[in-house]
Amino acid sequence: MSSTSNSDVRPTLAVWKFASCDGCQLSLLDCEQELLALTGAVRIAHFTEMSRATVSGPYDISLVEGSITTPDDVERIKEVRANSRHLVTIGACAASGGIQALRNFVEPGSYASAVYAHPEYLETLETSTPISAHVAVDYELHGCPIDRHQLLEVLLAFLAGRRPVVAGHSVCQECKARSTVCLLVSDKTACLGPVTRAGCGALCPSVARGCFGCFGPSDCANVASLTARLRLLGSSDGELDRLLQTFNAAAPAFRSAVGVGRAAAVSLGQSRSPSHEGAER
């Protein structure tokens, strides 16, 4: 894999990590059955979750995971961009800022001081922002984590020089395609499926769990109308805010539907710690 033979004509692939959990890049290793064949078609040149051996750039395609949260990130993403013919972001963090973008909506530093004994050692930005806020992005793959089939599809489309077949419509259409009965209509379950981008195969509704929006807003998401309906069906404002404030909290369509009272309610004096509040859900 770390061979640097000049006769190798395979396009090179690099994987980069910013503020993230590594789950999305591990989706590449999750392509177990296809992985060997894939490495025959692309040369994995930089992927530290897989190998310490790396090949220097420039790279034909870079997969970028994570959001920009530190001054160092701001510089590093520019280098990645400069070294990449194609830059594809993978996952909710890279596309919208991730769960760590919750800090964008509170007093700067308040989360860090609640979590770390010595926050003064941290050097972070006040906000967590998507990759596209810093450099040009050629393609965004959504999800928390991404779907490995979609990752393969993007790589195969790249290799064939065609457009990836990746939908921008709602999760509802995946429920209908697999004949999952609508939980919102038949059970009044709070479900973000109607405003969430497809791609997971409607995994949660298929096990009777409402969609929690991990693929972020769909192309045409009308979140205000859905939350008005969920409120009628019994969801409280707080429940709706929590539903929208997860992995894609900073995606504009989700962010704009969050109640205006939310920021005040998340003052650290009132609830012991927002991070603990999150863990209880």
């Binding site: 296809e34 064949a37 894939l38 025959g40 078609a41 393969l152 599809e153 195969l156 489309a157 290799l159 064939a160 065609r162 077949v165 939908a167 921008g168 419509h169 709602s170 509802c172 259409q173 209908k176 395609a177 697999r178 004949s179 999952t180 009965v181 609508c182 919102l184 209509v185 038949s186 059970d187 009044k188 479900c191 499926g193 109607p194 405003v195 769909s218 192309d219 045409c220 998401a221 009308n222 109308s225 859905l226 008005a228 309906r229």
Partner: protein
């Protein structure tokens, strides 16, 4: 298959005369269909709804299952009666059996000399449906005009449709969201079917009045235990249909409707509904006549490529994508496209309504948008126009 019924010369009950089946008779009919090589499907209660599923006998049918439907609401309840068809249509229509959500059309492999195409496999056994509602049967006929009998025949759809056997069960229990009487598609049915059943459960017992609509229907009924329907049975059937018509939950004023919508393309109601509509596409996917599809060409790692036809929806941004962007970028323009196509331009294209009044789009809209209410609103304010010039771009 619906070849017209012919009266056999032999003794016994004439095929064209209505007969009565008991539960054992219905069970025998399902067995006969299966033994004749059909893949038999019917309504089953699964995942909290009545949906199409495989059946091998009456025990698989939703006995005692009742439903409660409202705009954006659906709930099943288990009764202690043994009626098998005491519900209105659920989210899954029979469309999916002939026009599946995802259907591979061909695969191709390139070699040095040529590209070799292989047609994708088709379903081996013809389909027999026991328990399609009249509105659903009429919906298949609407689809036939588009996919089978029109200028662009879809061979996969057409072949499966032509081979299919359909035993309709007339409707005794419409939902609050139903309006088939407005569309002339129910609750009873005359013609087109192979068999038409009416479930009766009165002092005369739990039974089915069966009418024959085709030679195949006659043949399938041949060895099934039945008795000749008497006047009382036929009166009971009439009472069932009268009761159903009287309980129809909704009404759509169809007279002049196509023209009404065509001249109200700038009505302010489109903006209003655009505020409520989620653009999720549920209405189009539960609709038994929506036929929009996309073609997906993909490649795999081994160098093989594949073409699939997949369901699409006019509520998707991609659906109206032309060079430079989506033609219908606003939610109001997408809803207007869908509703005016169903009730107005479908007539121009296919000389029928695109709506059969099954009410699925009303029930399964997560925010309960009601096509009959939208039409009534526009009818009541015919000629109203938006304050600002209409736009198909941006916003909602």
């Amino acid at each position: 298959m619906s070849r017209p019924a012919q009266t056999p010369d032999g003794p016994g009950v004439k095929a064209a005369d209505p007969v009565v089946l008991g539960l054992d008779g219905l069970d025998a009919l399902i067995t006969k269909l299966s033994e004749s090589g059909y893949e038999v499907k019917g309504p089953v209660s699964r995942g909290g709804a009545v949906v199409p599923g495989s059946i091998s006998g009456v025990d698989d049918l939703p006995a005692g299952v009742h439903d409660e439907q409202s705009p954006g609401g659906y709930r099943l309840a288990q009764g202690d009666d043994g009626r098998l068809f005491a519900w209105a249509v659920g989210p899954g229509s029979w469309k999916g059996e002939f026009f599946p959500a995802h259907q591979e059309v061909w695969r191709a492999r390139a070699s040095d000399e040529a590209i070799e195409f292989t047609e994708a496999a088709r379903e081996a056994a013809p389909l027999a449906i026991v328990g399609a509602r009249p509105c659903e049967f009429r919906a298949l006929e609407v689809l036939d005009r588009v996919l089978k009998d029109g200028a662009y025949r879809d061979p996969r759809y057409a072949d499966r449709r032509e081979a299919a056997f359909v035993a309709v069960v007339e409707c005794a229990s419409p939902a609050s969201t139903c309006f088939c009487t407005s569309m002339g598609t129910g609750p009873g049915i005359e013609g087109g079917f192979d068999l038409a059943l009416t479930e009766i459960d009165d002092e005369g017992g739990h039974r089915f009045v069966v009418r024959v609509g085709s030679e195949d229907g006659s043949e399938m009924l041949d060895s099934v235990p039945s008795t000749k329907a008497d006047a009382g049975d036929l009166e009971a059937r009439a009472r069932v249909l009268e009761g159903a018509a009287a309980n129809m939950g909704r009404h759509l004023q169809t007279e002049g409707l196509a023209g009404l919508l065509a001249r109200n393309m700038d009505h302010p109601r489109w903006s209003d509904v655009g505020e409520r509509c989620l653009s999720c596409g549920n209405c189009t996917l539960v609709c038994p006549t929506c036929f929009c599809s996309d073609v997906h060409d993909t490649t795999d790692i081994s160098g093989e490529s594949s073409r699939a036809r997949v369901w699409s929806s006019c509520f998707d941004l991609d659906h109206s994508y032309l060079h430079g962007g989506a033609v219908r970028a606003s939610c109001s323009s997408r809803y207007r496209q869908w509703m005016t196509h169903k009730l107005s331009t479908w007539w121009d294209q296919f000389d029928t309504s695109g709506c059969v009044g099954c009410g699925r789009c009303v029930t399964w809209c997560p925010v309960g948008i009601d096509i009959t209410e939208e039409a009534a609103f526009i009818a009541a304010s015919d000629g109203a126009t938006r304050v600002s010039p209409p736009s198909t771009r941006g916003g909602s």
